[in-house]
Every structure is written in structure tokens, then in C-alpha cells.
Symmetry: C2
Subunit: 365 residues, 2 copies
């Protein structure tokens, strides 16, 4: 293999693709980028066993061929020659990178060691605005589980149909749902790894362009500009969010999002270090009394609120509350409760497509 190309073009591709390199693994080839030079370009691909990212760049191919090289070292190195024309080729010392009068070498692994990527050509798909999909992801993936106790919860449920795409993520303590407009091939239901959605989100811009998300039995595929992302989907039964989500409430409060956020942020300062981030709400009269206590001190604030229903005392993780407030975008929001031990919800005053649910913390008091 041997090709010549602009360092900047190659480093952009290497950085993009290396996001799919495995970080800690016992299989060094999963930390690699596979480069394939043929015809008028070079294709770079990385795959960690779940997510693959592939990008083709123009190059002057002198000798076709392919090879694997450590993705992190290759991209870090290529960035440092991005202002030069670079010649890349295989030799007995591995991968030879020549630039200016200099040449450096990187260890390689044979391309045959790289796992076969199965592209499943499904005809199912949904189509969304890039900006809307990016927003949908941002409003839900923060609730995906990060531990392995129920692996399917490390993914986000996507349901397409009837002109809408709906996302649901939950980790056993909290849940977020969001929806946006979407076209597509019909009714689809899939669980996509949170990491895949995060990487896709990074590639999307805030524009109006449409994005086609292809779905086959076990795979999701997206192409953004020249970059193709494919990801395994999780199989198994996702939690039935409908069953969890309460539809009747004993207490509802309408409150300014900014005022509530600021109060809870102050409370959080003093309970830093407490793993439950315990914040107490006392909902009564025309406000919420927010208190937090630690050995450092205590915060006690009243935020004006419009109460409907019963008065209530409830304890919660203040960090979860702040996370949820961040993804609601109206000035006024509604919090709805039943009892001090049942889940409560946060929604925008008007647009109900996007909501969060949080389990309270049981306290002895």
C-alpha cells in the first residue's frame, strides 16, 4: 500500500474515525484504524465491536493495499503533520509516514486481523432534521444507564411512526422522553447504544438538512457528509415506559425554570460530597421551600410557585433535578407529584413532547 495525500485531510479523517476505536481492550486490533487504499482514495475505518465509523478521503494511490495501525497514535501523529503533504506506505518496518525530508514508522497489524464488518442492507429507515435529532439525543441520553447491571438500559429506545420519532432513556432512578417530527418506512422500534447516539450527535450540525437513519434487524446506519456510522442495536425487551409514567397527580406546581435552577444550584454547593445530593422540597402555599443540609451549612430558599392540589414534602437527588431542568426549554415548567415515595415528573408548561421523571429519595424524616 502506498498513497500521497494532504496531511489536513488525512488527520481530519483519522480524528473522526478514531472515535470508534476501543479504549481498553485485550484485542489490540480493536484499537486500530484500518486503512484501505484503492482507486482514487483511502478508506479509514475503526470498529470497537459495537460501533464502526468509516470515512473515505481523496488520495493519490500509488499502490493499492490495506493495513491496520493504532488509531490513537496515528491520529495524534498525523495532526502534527497536517500542514504538509504526507506520503503513507507499508514497508518491512510497518507503516512509513514521509513528510518533508523526514520519515517515521508506526507498528502495524495485518488488515486480515480486522473484524469483518457486516453491513445489513435493510430497507427500513426514518428521516429527521439534523438539528431535531441532535436535540432529541441531548434531551434523553443523559438518562441512559452507565453500569452493566441491565445492559439494555445503556441504550436509548427509539420509536418511529405516525410522523414522529420518540426517544426514551432510563437508568432505574430517572427517565427522559423526547419526540420530534420524522418521516419513514413505517413503524419502527429499536434500542440504540447511548455511545452511538452521542457520536452521531457530535457529527450533526444545527441546520435544517435531513438525516436518513437506516435500520435493519440488528443494525443502525447513518451517513453524515462522507462519514458512515454503523452500530449494533441492543436486543431484548426495553422497560415499558408507559407503565412507569404516572398520568394522574395529587400535586402540581408551575414554577420559573430559571429561579428553580438557581436555587437548586446553590443548594448543591453545600451538599457537594454527599452521594445522594439530597435536596428537600416543601410545597405549600404559594411556593416551594427548598432546603439542603450538610456539615458545611444549610441552604433554605423559597421559590414562588403556583400550586394545584395537595401540599407535599419530598426529598430528591438535586443533581438529577438540575440535569432534567437543563433539557426543558420553556421559561415556565410544571412539576407533578403523587406521594413522597412515588416518581414525579417535570415538563414544559406548553410543549409536553419532552419530559423527565425522577424517583424521589426515601428519608427517615
Amino acid at each position: 500500500m502506498k498513497f500521497v495525500c494532504e496531511g489536513l485531510v488525512l488527520s481530519d479523517a483519522a480524528i473522526t474515525v478514531s472515535k470508534a476505536c476501543a479504549a481498553r481492550t485485550t484485542m489490540p486490533v480493536l484499537e486500530c484504524i484500518r486503512m484501505t487504499a484503492e482507486n482514487d482514495g483511502v478508506t479509514l475505518v475503526a470498529y470497537d465491536g459495537e460501533l464502526s465509523i468509516c470515512k473515505k478521503v481523496k488520495a493519490d494511490v500509488l499502490e493499492e493495499g490495506e493495513i491496520c495501525v493504532n488509531g490513537r497514535f496515528f491520529s495524534d501523529f498525523i495532526v502534527k503533520v497536517s500542514d504538509m503533504t504526507v506520503s503513507v506506505g507499508t514497508c518491512e518496518k510497518g507503516l512509513e509516514i514521509s513528510y518533508g525530508d523526514s520519515r517515521s514508522f508506526l507498528q502495524t497489524l495485518p488488515a486480515s486481523d480486522f473484524p469483518k464488518l457486516k453491513s445489513e442492507d435493510g430497507s427500513d429507515y426514518f428521516q429527521v432534521k439534523q438539528s431535531a435529532f441532535k436535540e432529541l439525543i441531548g434531551r434523553t441520553v443523559f438518562c441512559c444507564a452507565t453500569d452493566e447491571s441491565r445492559p439494555i438500559l445503556k441504550g436509548c429506545l427509539l420509536e418511529a411512526g405516525e410522523g414522529k420519532l420518540r426517544a426514551t432513556a432510563l437508568d432505574g432512578y430517572r427517565m427522559a422522553t423526547a419526540e420530534c417530527e420524522a418521516e419513514g418506512s413505517g413503524s419502527l422500534k429499536l434500542v440504540c447504544p447511548a455511545r452511538t447516539l452521542t457520536e452521531i450527535s457530535r457529527m450533526l450540525d444545527d441546520g435544517e438538512e435531513s438525516l436518513r437513519v437506516g435500520v435493519s434487524k440488528n443494525m443502525l446506519s447513518v451517513t453524515v457528509d462522507d462519514t458512515a456510522v454503523e452500530s449494533r442495536l441492543y436486543t431484548g425487551e426495553f422497560v415499558n415506559a408507559e407503565k412507569i409514567y404516572p398520568h394522574e397527580f395529587a400535586t402540581a406546581v408551575k414554577v420559573s425554570k430559571a429561579e428553580l435552577s438557581e436555587s437548586v444550584e446553590r443548594a448543591i454547593v453545600l451538599i457537594r460530597g454527599d452521594k445522594n445530593n439530597l435536596v428537600l422540597f416543601e410545597i405549600k402555599g404559594d411556593g416551594i421551600l427548598i432546603t439542603a443540609n450538610s456539615e458545611i451549612g444549610n441552604v433554605s430558599e423559597t421559590v414562588k410557585a403556583e400550586l394545584t392540589g395537595r401540599e407535599l414534602k419530598i426529598a430528591m437527588n438535586g443533581k438529577y433535578l438540575l440535569d432534567a431542568l437543563k433539557v426543558l426549554d420553556e421559561e415556565t415548567i410544571v412539576l407533578s407529584f403523587n406521594t413522597p415515595v412515588s416518581p414525579f415528573t417535570l415538563e414544559n408548561e406548553n410543549d409536553k413532547g419532552n419530559s423527565c421523571l425522577i424517583l424521589p429519595v426515601r428519608t427517615s424524616a
Copy 2:
């Protein structure tokens, strides 16, 4: 104690002063800010046993008095009320902070627990341009020792006299010296903790204003705007830099700083993880052959250089070399060597006031 002031003013002061709070200590009072309300203002001060920072702000003092409060929590909390008018006072629950309709409390320690700060009124001083002092600090403190094996090396030697201020820092592996113009009360020699200089440097701007640095037997004091910094000086004999610094060389090379930096940066990528950051120089003919090897690969580059004297092979810590290159500011620099095991120097081509010295690494090859 009770006073009312603008949250923004108080939070600015708390953030500035809290830089002198001790981070990990068995004496909680050293993590505190002491607040003293008297006359028309409040004085905040923090002291970690070595460095003190003191700032006075205007406030409406309703009741004079003083108290100590954890600096980190107080400044983090006050930042969150910086858009309000804040009332601060002592009560039986500790420090009461009132803002809007809310009130929060922080634990306190009695002001009498706070260590006595000795202000030594020396008449000695030197006077420098703020920008020049900032530059001098940036060019030397990175070479101060960070371990405790020879405590005096955690400081930077400052020598004032004959219209100049000269700084020297070394850690046993490398040394940096820099100088700038200065006026003053005569010949002065002191060793100032690196941390003090770093904090002073953060307060300085890049302007032409003059800074007066007061020096007494064991103390250094500086006032920048309304902020007073005092620091203990180190006592003991500093290393005699003159003795270490070679004045005759067998080999000298003149080289482009940018080209050398870029080459060494590429070499560093591949030897990441090697604690010696071993980079080899082979100086011969009209260039330096720079090589670095690791199990990941190897870099081999030639940088054009103008050689005077003997050819030489020498091994060094590439990280130290990059640090030194960063503080030289001319386009062309000169590296001067004697043997592969004796220290070598880096200087600007013209301005010799600023220089670095590095000990090479002995290799078996």
C-alpha cells in the same frame, strides 16, 4: 458582625482570596477565609501558612466584627448569588447569608483561631514593569522543583541590583534563568516560593504599570489593585547557578525554534508513556537528526542547523526540551553542548538574558 454588599463585589474578592486557602490540611482554619467588617468595608484574608492574600471591599457595615468560614464553599456559594445584594452576618447557626427572600448558613470558626499574620515592614524593595515581571515568572517557575527532597528548590531565586532583576529556578534536572529591568533599594537576594510567584503572576496584567515588590528579612509583599499578597521566603543556601552553568562549549548549533519544536512534538507522540521521554539528537553536517523509539514506532527527522565545533550524539528528555523552547522567544535559537553526559544550554540567538539548561539522559548506547 453584619454587613450588606453587592454579591458580585463579594464573590470577586472571595475568589481572589481563596487562592491562598490551604487545600489539604489537618488545620481546618487554614482552609478558611477570615472576614473582618469595620468602618466602611470588609476585609477578606486567607493564609495557608506560607502565602496570604488579602482584599478589602466596600460594604455597608451594620455591626463590626470578624469570623472565619471555609473559603472554597464560601466562594463557590457567593458566586451563585453574585447578581443580588447580599447581607452577611453572624448568628448562632454560624454565618447567615441572606439574599432575596432566602437565607442560608455556613459553619464558622472563631476569628481568634486564625493565625496571626506578621507584616514585616521592610524598607527594601524592587520595582518592575508588571508585564516584565509576569514574563520573568513564566520563563522560570516551570523549572522549580515540585518534590520535597530539597525544599529550597521549590522556590525561585530572585536577585535584584544594578538596574536588573534576575530569576533562577532549577529542579536538579534542568534550570531556567531570566532577567528584566528593575529599580530598587539596592542589592537584594531572596528565594520566593514558586506558588507565590504563580499567584502574583495571575494578578498581573500585560501593561506597562510599575509593580513594587517589598522585601523584608523573611517576607515578600506585593499590592496589585486592592489585593495584598504576602509570602514567607525560603531561607537557606540556594544552588550556585554560576557554578553549574558552562561557559565554554565544544558544540553549538543555530536552529529554527519552530522547526525544532515541531519535530520534537512529533517524536513525543510516539514515546508517550515512557517516563524519560527519551529523544536522541545526532548533530552532524548541516543538521540535527532527531530520533525517538518506542514499541509503537519510531520517528526520525532531520532539522537544518548551523553547526560550530564537534559533532555529537546526545540523549535527552524531550518534554524538558519542549518546555525550554516555549520560553525562548526569538525565531532562531542556539543550543550549546560539551559532552553527551554534561549539561547543555538553550538561548535566544541575540537576547542572552533568558536561558535554559538541561541535563542529558545517560544511555547505554
